[in-house]
Symmetry: D2
Subunit: 248 residues, 4 copies
């Protein structure tokens, strides 16, 4: 049994994670830390993996403490800039064997969708992204849609695919969406939706559509459990679930 702690256990994602960890085979949830609880005692409590689900303003302190104690970490907190990742790498340099996995998106489906979109992108003349979210979302397009567009654009650039055809000459402002590295991205905000993303690829005579729908935080639990189970396979810093999906 792997001994696990959740830091940020009283948040919405944290409490869902606690339920999933409680129900998971082979994992023993031994500590649930909320605001004000001391992260510095995890090692002494025998914790082997900490699941860090807090906020950008506290995540770095939590990571540093875990690394110093020799506790591996899976974190889903946002806000990891290249500078922050470098800082974490620095701490890990002095802690051989400690593993940190930064997960921008725990949804296995979202990771698969990005991967498939990038693989398919060079076979099609046109690629566009439509992301659809609840109307309470602050940013448009979503971070996942931007990331998908970047991956798609990189794959097309590498394969030398020319720009997608577009004869539009008479357009209302905004009609053709935002452009992320040359890929049009459209953001729909609709009550009744949670989080969906569609990548549309087209060539003469055929189209390929890849769509991911998230219904609730339950959808993140398979990815979170996978991360907890496998984080200690790779010492040092890893970014993204993809390395652990064993895809060809």
């Amino acid at each position: 049994m792997t001994k696990v702690a959740v830091i940020g256990a009283s948040g919405r994602m944290g409490s869902t994670a606690c339920r999933a960890l409680d129900a998971a085979d082979g994992l023993d949830l031994v500590a649930r830390l909320g605001r004000g609880d001391d992260v510095g005692t995890l090692a002494s409590a025998g914790v082997e993996v900490a699941v860090e689900l807090t906020r950008p303003d506290v995540v770095m302190a939590n990571l540093r403490s875990c690394i110093e104690q020799g506790v591996s970490v899976v974190t889903g907190t946002s806000g990891f800039t290249p500078e922050r990742l470098d800082e974490v790498r620095g701490w890990l340099a002095g802690a051989p064997g400690v593993c940190v996995l930064v997960v921008p998106n725990f949804s296995v489906g979202a990771v698969l969708l990005m991967r498939f979109a990038a693989q398919a992108a060079r076979f099609y003349e046109s690629v566009e992204i439509v992301e659809l979210h609840h109307p309470g979302k602050a940013d448009a397009p979503s971070g996942t849609a931007r990331r998908t567009a970047e991956l798609v654009a990189a794959a097309r650039a590498e394969a030398g695919v020319p720009a997608a055809p577009d004869a539009t000459v008479d357009s209302l402002d905004g009609a053709r969406g935002a452009t992320v590295e040359g890929v049009p991205v459209h953001a729909v905000r609709l009550r009744g939706l949670v989080a969906s993303q569609e990548v549309l690829l087209g060539s003469p005579g055929e189209t390929l559509t890849l769509r991911h729908d998230s219904l609730d935080r339950e959808g993140f639990m398979p990815g979170l459990l996978l991360a907890v189970r496998r984080v200690r396979e790779t010492p040092g810093l890893t970014v993204g679930l993809e390395a652990y999906l064993d895809l060809p």
Copy 2:
């Protein structure tokens, strides 16, 4: 048998119409006019209904000639401004019994979609439109999408529905689409598509999606035949197929 002529018979829409009229029960295609042919002889040839499928620069002369001859007309040519419609009404005032039907869209499905969207719009907090076309299209959004947005907006205004919720504060330019009378409209241009339109409506806990896909000009023929069969029921000027769909 109703005697029918096609004006613009050698164009792409015209030649498809000729094939459909040839195959239709109860209709007798007696004249196919191309560029340079004389429209003024239709009545003497016994033509009862002319199908006018030409260009904005010649349609008005064709309509005037038909009306003067007492020949009813179905036209699918674009470019009918309110001023043009008034001019046609003026000609018809002096030609009792002559019927002119101006059809912005021969697709029965497109007409149904607009109608259903307008009927459903007041029951939902959010409405957005995504239209998807081949990349050779010059305008974005499509005329049908704009018209749909106008109908949706009018229905919501009449029912007193407040603006759709949208918490976006951080947006890439264009991400949230164009706004037509308050309704976000997104235009996708993708090789491999012909012409599609999707209206998405959402309220807490449910969404309704209405989608129309056009594959080719065949999809316009049922509406065109319906128009030819029924145009003479309504003397004067009629705009749109909807009046002949016998909807409740």
Copy 3:
């Protein structure tokens, strides 16, 4: 303020209804009855409308009691056979002014979808239904899908539409779905879905797709509140929300 009671207030649908009624303008939730509570005291408590959300084995007794007390009822309980409806009509015959509304589906979207499908059905050669639900559902296809197929079939029969074309000669058992009054119905059962229904209509060159997605019981609340607000407009028995949607 209309005084309202919920019978079955501790069930999942009932508790959602209580929250919605508590938050609704113009409605005053004065009684929440659970198992064992006495339905016979509603009138003396001033209740004007009872929302009955229980089970087929108790609904009839509850309806009878409400009618005898002169309390109007909205019920979403299932199991109303023609015989049961006749029995309710009999009770109402002796209670002038009392109104009972039996609602097979509180989802406004589901009602709109059925209506639109029936209206569109006669314009298309082909119609099929795909319903998609969570894998815990016991019946396939869903009651809503069957009802939709029946409405579609009736509309096509009335319009004299021939059977949909189908050249299938070599088929795996079940591949072409179940047939409800001549309409193929396919039932998908998928973890991660709640309840969706898609009606596909096709003619040469075009297709029309109508889709409804239910995410949770919140989606039933607008229909339930509408029912409570308007049930007393129509004395006697009414079946279905449609009468109150003010559609043309």
Copy 4:
């Protein structure tokens, strides 16, 4: 310039292929063979690759002749049983350097869809397939849907994924589709469609949908040209385009 011949050049697929080969850089279409033309003269005409697009009753004779002449072949003709493939392997054993590529599906999108579905299948509790075709199709489900189901089933078996959950106890015959190696497959036949396939995968809280739409034979040309360009990289017999898509 690679010298290419088309065998079956007057068929629908063959004539589309001729147009595509004529327009393609680096390929020189030097021979178009129809019924009655002599396949035995291809080598003497300098043909390096033959594109064989005929019928199951003549394809084997054509392959044998090409192999004997030392001409490599890409064939899209159907009906290759394991026995036929073995026979071709036998002929190739005596013709070192000759390459034969048997392509069950020239659509790159269909090949990608199958691959992605198989890769994703082990991450989801539920998988179902909906294929949608024009109503003139004789078999249900389609060969591509069957093959997709087999690949999905094999991937799940290898990963030890249990059977998808399904609580259906009360079902109309056919409602739950056909079962191909444990995967439910639903076949929709709808006028206005050409050929589409959708793979739906679901787990708690999320679904992934992969969809491919074919509009016309143009959609096969990128795969056909790719095959012609690369067939001579791999001496002997190869089945399927996938080997040439350079996927990871």
